[in-house]
Amino acid sequence: MQVRAAPDSLSEKVEQSIKEAQEACSDDPASGECVAAWDEVEELSAAASHARDRLKDNDPLENYCKDNPETDECKTYDN
């Protein structure tokens, strides 16, 4: 099963932020700029991960049935 990356703009943001963090830290790894840059990478990585999960959840039938469980295509017979 192929794991897809997040939507392109977010993926690009993640990639970009990693590059920026590496640059910021090349001067002074202990500086506020370096630390804040990696924090941004973490934030964007988390957002990208959530976006990936949302993509996984986007089954049109599931979404339709969530709102219309009584229709023929969505009825479940458990007993």
Binding site: A6, V14, P29, E33, A36, W38, D53
Partner: protein
């Protein structure tokens, strides 16, 4: 929403207040107190008694507030989904609002992401060179004001922090729910907010497990490598240790996630050792125990009655101290493979606040696709959810009892 009831009372000290929120653009509220008293003194015939009082209270003022401290989790986390599921109904973002809202609303619960109280957006933090973990990036005054308002039954306009753009978006209206959950990095950091919490939980992921999980999360993203993931964790660690970690001593329950001891040198983070550390003496909260409360028990359920596959399951229970507090610790190491293992374990646990036999198992099965459904993280998150339901029911029944007492007197 206000409820007004008219009373005729003999008391001389009757006061009346009508609360109408007057909102500033930041969402601060000032209650306007209106004193209304109509006294009818008619001779001594006795038909009409003393002052007539109208008392209004906003909503039913019974919002129970739960705090959950977790890194990088905001309303979408597995814990939140399990918790809201215990109360029934799916938790959804507010309909018709900002699609990037972090808030989740179900019938009984509203989950607020504390990132919404960032005082600095992503650019601002970059300029100042602070992380989101730093208290300087968060507006604790606003957090306190709004949580206090919601707890007392007043709706607030809460800012939205957009995780995609990194900007602070226009506010959304939050109406007081029955249960308010505040989730984020700093629910217990500010003392005033801490005092508003009816129950607090800290999710403590050990460094090894955090690293393993972040690798699994981020390796699919191009741009990330093992080095960048490691660098990100290392860079955030000082702020994390200084500002986030110290909150765990205030938590009523800590869920500690560690690497397993059943597999030597395991670094995949798939089999986990999870410890539920429960503070003793917390109002409305009775810790879960195994076999004999207050004693120390080591239990391996796998044997003649139950066959488990590798690496098996190991439980431990016992009293301990944690940052100077008396606690009880319930620990599970290993994995559930089958339904009967789960129900077997459930049947041996006590004080789990289920409403029927097998409720924990049922809840775990309902979300079998959630991470942690086969180990202690899912089990203890589910149990904590049931304890919170129990706590909520105790609080609301004691609150409805009190006014009844007053009217009798």
């Amino acid at each position: 929403m206000a409820v007004c009831s008219a009373y005729t009372t003999q008391s001389l000290n009757s006061t009346c207040s009508i609360s109408t929120p007057a909102k500033t653009h930041l969402g601060f509220h000032q209650k306007q107190v209106v004193f209304y008293r109509r006294s009818s003194k008619r001779g001594g015939s006795g038909s009409s008694s003393g002052p007539c009082v109208i008392t209004c209270s906003a909503g039913d003022s019974q919002t129970v507030v739960i705090g959950l401290a977790a890194d990088s989790g905001c309303g979408k986390s597995t814990f939140m989904r399990r918790l809201t599921s215990v109360f029934g109904g799916a938790a959804e973002p507010p309909k018709g609002g900002n699609p990037d809202s972090n808030t989740l609303i179900s019938d009984m619960t509203t989950v607020i992401c504390l990132d919404d109280y960032h005082s600095l957006d992503r650019t601002g933090r970059k300029e100042k060179g602070v992380t989101a973990l730093d208290p300087r990036a968060n507006d604790f005054d606003l957090m306190y004001e709004q949580v206090k308002a919601i707890k007392s039954g007043v709706a607030v306009d809460k800012p939205i922090y957009n995780h995609v753009t990194g900007l602070l978006d226009p506010p959304e209206l939050i109406k007081p729910p029955k249960i308010l959950v505040i989730e984020g990095l700093h629910p217990m950091f500010d003392e005033r907010v801490r005092d508003l919490l009816d129950f607090s939980i800290y999710l403590d992921i050990s460094n090894e497990v955090k690293f393993a999980w972040k690798i699994q999360r981020d390796m699919a993203e191009r741009g990330h490598s093992l080095e960048s993931i490691k660098a990100s964790i290392e860079a955030r660690k000082p702020d994390f240790d200084a500002y986030i970690d110290p909150q765990k001593k205030y938590a009523d329950a800590v869920i500690e996630v560690l690497p397993t001891q059943l597999i030597p040198d395991d670094n995949e983070g798939k089999v986990l050792r999870v410890r539920l550390i429960m503070k003793e003496g917390v109002k409305h909260f009775s810790p879960v125990y195994l076999f004999d409360e207050g004693s120390t028990v080591s239990w391996i359920p796998c044997g003649r009655k139950l066959t488990c596959s590798y690496p098996g399951i190991k439980f431990h229970y016992g009293p301990d101290t944690y940052f100077g507090n008396e606690v009880s610790i319930l620990e599970m190491d290993g994995q559930f493979d089958r339904l009967d293992e789960l129900i077997y374990v459930e049947s041996h646990l006590s004080n789990i606040s289920t409403k029927f036999y097998g409720e924990v198992t049922q809840q775990m099965l309902k979300h079998a696709d959630f991470p942690g459904s086969n180990n202690g993280t899912g089990l203890f998150q589910t149990i904590v959810g049931l304890k919170i339901r129990d706590l909520y029911e105790q609080i609301t029944s004691s609150k409805t009892a009190a006014p009844l007492e007053a009217t009798k007197a």
